[in-house]
Symmetry: C2
Subunit: 678 residues, 2 copies
């Protein structure tokens, strides 16, 4: 066949030669230090040669037939086989001091895990939900019993909260756990079909234990939702225990190896000490002792959202690497009729699809790093009993998770479409990447619900600002604007754009507050008025989040002193592009609420075009700087060597259909049919 003799595609080589900065310096800057690069290479998002020997080069973890060609059942069985191998390897790494719990979690849950385990894994939830829930909600005695069993993987658990009919609104859960003081047991029941647990990863056929969230009943009263540890399957035979109805929920848009399951209870009895009692308790006689504060349970939820934002950024970097490299290799049409077909990256419409998403990676990452620090600070304060910054963190985590996942999914889909037909191929790995990221628009808090939680906070602080009260740091910008301080005239600087974003957010919060108040004055109940203002509220929260992202991004780039001039120029171009792009995406808002004038818009459009042209020669260098290995990209279009067409062909040849020249369906169905026509 036409196997390419050159090692690297010539167009890519040329792109790398004309790069004006050192992409290795970018890697260094993103990681923070060469030690951190080494750590990452060894244990983190990426594989070191060491890990490569252990994972990527292990023939037992290779796919001879890629999962996409297999049946749903085969995919599951393969995921279990591989999951066990990976866990054994990680345990070995831990035994020689090369791994820790964080690695377990990252390896299985993040971009790295998806490179080995593909499309999710049934064992992930054991580490990312079951063990953390034990840590957060079990008493020391309970932890002593359960944690060692969980850590050593002699049991496999999952976390069962969501029900067929109940998601985000957890107070609506229907599963019941009724305390029976006679036997000192809880009796679990699923009173309706809608009360069946639905979605937990690994629940289908993998886990033998679960932490189940249920409505606690004691002494005839409902005490609200509480966590219980429940054995699901016999440890020896794996048969479901009596009264346990269990299975998997079927195929989905993506993540088809996660073995998401359903679970129903029919009078399932568990001992009293199977309720996780770190917070609330049931005494032997059925007396209920309420938790002192429920704010502490906020913690895990926020942790997951904060981590998710960084995760989403890593998937954006993956998709943009694939699309940028492919766009440098793919040639189509001619910009000038006397020239050869152009690299599609030379079309400005293509740059417009690629580079704002390239810039988005930096914007989201900067915001993710910042909120990660804030989270750690607030958690530290929390342990000292200070709860003051919790609502602020919660409001920020909500809108950032929503905006990062929505922008990320939209951006990845735009990048996929920018690769034309080949982006539609599974071998591009773009469909699966979209499948993973779009899921995060829904899980861990549905985006619209989260934006409205942020909006509620914003409306509250807005009213405080109007009264002249001081505001927490991340919303402090509202103070001046609430006081009606006049904005400075438009001057096209990045600081001006940051302030304009803040003015838009303030303007929208103000307007939504006014509109809601007006509705209440006209006689609507506060709840109805809230609902009827919710589109504006949602949009106000998004504008606030955008203002936060833009402000953090511009600040980080402006304050940057540790990189070379060459790299700084590139980083500043990307930052400018992001800022200008979002003004042009929301021109109406800026014309209404900032000092942007109609006459300024054309200049912004020109600035956008200038930035695209400026970024163009460095685009490949920038994605090279992301330093994502081919095995993690997993894409025929995105590999470092750029042998796109050979890889597409090679991937196709792995199809079981291509192992036979004539498929048996010809003899069975098609030939009899064709012959009957003669």
């Amino acid at each position: 066949m036409y196997r390419n003799r050159i090692t690297v595609n010539e167009d890519l080589l040329r792109e790398r030669q004309k790069c004006t900065f050192d992409s290795k310096e970018l890697t260094l800057w993103l990681d923070g230090s060469s030690e951190k690069i080494a750590t990452r290479h060894e244990l983190g998002n990426e594989f070191s040669l060491f890990v490569e020997d252990n994972f990527l080069n292990d023939p037992l973890l290779q796919d001879t037939v890629p999962a996409k060609y297999k049946s749903h059942k085969e995919i599951y069985e393969d995921a279990i086989r591989k999951g066990c191998i990976v866990l054994e390897k990680l345990e070995y790494l831990q035994s020689i001091g090369k791994s820790d719990m964080r690695t377990y979690m990252q390896s299985l849950g993040g971009m790295l895990g998806s490179a080995i385990l593909k499309d999710g894994n049934p064992i992930t939830l054991h580490f990312v939900m079951f063990i953390p829930a034990l840590l957060g909600q079990a008493t020391p005695e309970q932890q002593a019993f359960w944690l060692s069993r969980a850590w050593s993987c002699s049991i496999i658990g999952t976390y069962a909260q969501t029900e067929l009919g109940h998601g985000t609104f957890i107070r609506g859960l229907e599963t019941t756990a009724t305390y029976d003081p006679k036997t000192k047991e809880f009796v679990l029941n699923s009173p309706t079909l809608t009360s069946y647990k639905w979605w937990p990863g690994g629940l289908g056929h993998t886990a033998n234990y679960a932490i189940v969230v249920a409505q606690l009943y004691s002494q005839g009263e409902c005490k609200g939702i509480h966590p219980f540890i429940v054995q699901l399957r016999d440890e020896e035979t794996h048969e479901p225990l009596p009264g346990i109805k269990i299975g998997e929920i079927g195929t989905k848009l993506g993540m088809n190896a996660t073995n998401n399951g359903f679970l129903g209870f029919e009078n399932v009895r568990i001992p009293r000490n199977h309720m996780l009692m770190k917070n609330s308790q049931i005494l032997e006689d059925g007396t209920y002792i309420k938790a002192t504060s429920d704010k502490l349970t906020y913690g895990t939820m926020m942790f997951v959202r904060v981590v998710l934002v960084q995760d989403i950024a890593s998937y954006i970097s993956k998709a943009v690497t694939i699309a940028v490299r492919y766009s440098a290799i793919r040639r189509q049409s001619q910009i000038k009729s006397d020239e050869p077909e152009s690299q599609i990256i030379d079309y400005m419409t293509q740059q417009y699809k690629l580079f704002p998403n390239l810039a988005m990676y930096f914007a989201i990452t900067t915001a993710a790093n910042w909120i990660w620090n804030m989270y750690n600070n607030v958690t530290a304060e929390l342990h000292q009993g200070e709860l003051e910054r919790l609502p602020e963190l919660h409001a920020l985590a909500c809108c950032l998770k929503a905006t990062a996942s929505a922008d990320g999914a939209k951006g990845i889909e735009e990048l996929r479409l920018s690769c034309g037909g080949h982006g539609y191929m599974d071998s591009s790995n773009l469909p699966a990447t979209y499948g993973l990221v779009t899921a995060s628009c829904t899980y861990e808090g549905e985006n619209t619900v989260l934006l409205l939680q942020t909006a509620r906070y914003l409306m509250k602080v807005w009213r405080q600002a109007v009264r002249g009260n001081p505001l927490p740091p991340t919303v402090e910008y509202l103070s001046n604007l609430a006081r009606g301080t006049e904005q400075e005239p438009w001057d096209d600087s990045l600081m001006c754009i940051v302030k304009a974003h803040q003015a838009v957010a303030a303007g929208k919060i103000h307007l939504a507050t006014q509109n809601m108040d007006r509705k209440i004055k006209k006689g609507r109940s506060p709840e109805d008025a809230w609902n009827e203002t919710s589109i504006e509220l949602m949009q106000a929260a998004e504008s606030h989040c955008r203002a936060f992202i833009v402000m953090r991004y511009v600040t980080a780039i402006n304050e940057l002193t540790t990189v070379s001039k060459e790299l700084h120029i590139v980083l500043k171009q990307l930052c400018t592009l992001y800022c200008v792009y979002w003004v042009l995406q929301r021109t109406g808002d800026f014309l209404r609420f900032s000092t942007l004038k109609k006459e300024n818009v054309s200049a912004l459009q020109s600035r956008l075009e200038e930035m695209l042209i400026a970024i163009r020669p460095n685009a490949v260098g920038i994605v090279d700087g992301f330093d994502i290995r081919d095995e993690v990209l997993g894409s025929a279009l995105g590999a470092y060597d750029g042998n796109v067409y050979q890889r597409l062909y090679d991937e196709a040849m792995k199809s079981p259909l291509n192992q036979d020249k004539v498929n048996e369906s010809f003899h069975k169905y098609l030939k009899p049919f064709l012959k009957s026509r003669l």
Copy 2:
């Protein structure tokens, strides 16, 4: 199990009761007459009881195990089996006068086909491309020989144009057909890997013939691309013929039963009369006779794009039916704390996700009907030698295909997300529906390329308008605006919004033209200037298309006299919603180019909210009026009876994994692993 005893979900029942119009009247209006409903029910997009007996109730066409659980190879083999059954049935229907070619095509290609054949079919291209290409490009003698064999299905063909390295820019195709006057044969070759044909449906393992588009060489000269009919496989054994390298291209985001294939040639010889010579010809001695006009080949391309717009609308109606019904059934959270959980359709943010997409169906359908008539008129003129309206039709078809597919895909994805986690389930049928529609953003002309073709036309007519020349009907609105006629002040009427859309389009075309001219004056070549203005040009074309859609939609609703007052009110609300929604989506454009003032925006937002509230009680009635059978919806969330949770559960229970309580991977991998931990 918890099988529901009620027939129809109570919430849905209540929705239907409070509907203010007769949904059957809507069906009547959409179809045009009760005869057309009957025809549709019998043969068209929908199944009649008659067809149901033949298709949907045929046990041979039922999936005991749904395709989503099967391997890629099994899916293909099943598609062939089912495809043969369907063709036999259609042939029978034709023999008793119940079917015709259009039915063949619609049945296999459209929403109806996807209900029986699921996720594409390998035989579709035989009808929608192979036969039409013979009709359009073969001489009468060639037709006499090939058409009867094709119609009777004694051969199965496909259409092979796109190559691994070449898509939209067909002049760049690399496959060669060199005429050898000694043997009076063409010799076909694939000189590079990038010249391999890639994508044609059914090419992988199904078709035994193909129409192949190749660069014709004769007498040492390249004569450009021409179509050839090539035998690929032996008619008896189905073995690929010597020199034919053939196989399938692997799995994709969707349409995984289409058996898309690749094809390479190594000195494959075909007789001279296998070149389709209706237009250009090669004489025996190798003399090339050029076609008199290449405008005629425009025809098929435009036909496909025009039909595609209606197809996309039908998929929108399907997705919106699913999401609206589910939103009426799903309850989550409480709008007021003393009330039961609310139907999610009562949340205004949910209405904002649903109803603009509901209105989009009507907008796109109206535009699709109008361009279908235009297409027929222009084609009739064409046959009388009049080519005048061809460029206008071409420009309109390009932007309409691009806008309908982009809006449609985005809308369907928004509807999927509006169904939360359950929208992520394959059993919702929303992921597959998205997979089908997003593909149409790329095929039959990539959207950006198409918008730029429209933009080229718009720039041309704009310059004519400036010169005072009369313009064709669909762009006539530019005349006044080019002359600088002052716009009337904003008054919120639908006609004002239509004119504002036109002013936006004109303003953007004007600005892009100016910017391009300025770049040329500054010394850029026209090609570079075009490229560097292409973002604005693309957006101008989209604005023009939006203006066209809005104008046709408002005109159609205003001129409507044949429906009841009740229905007219509902239709007008939807039309108003669509118009206002798009002004608010593009507020910046309207503030810049129309007479909309900042002070008017809040009133528009209120109007949008009013329309959402007004449409709310009729939403279920409207989608009921689309009259799409459950079998065609194929969705656990969207069925007429609303038994969402039972259907989700039933679909899950069809998973082969759920046939065993304990999967064998437990004994093989998991148990040894767990036990080794103890």
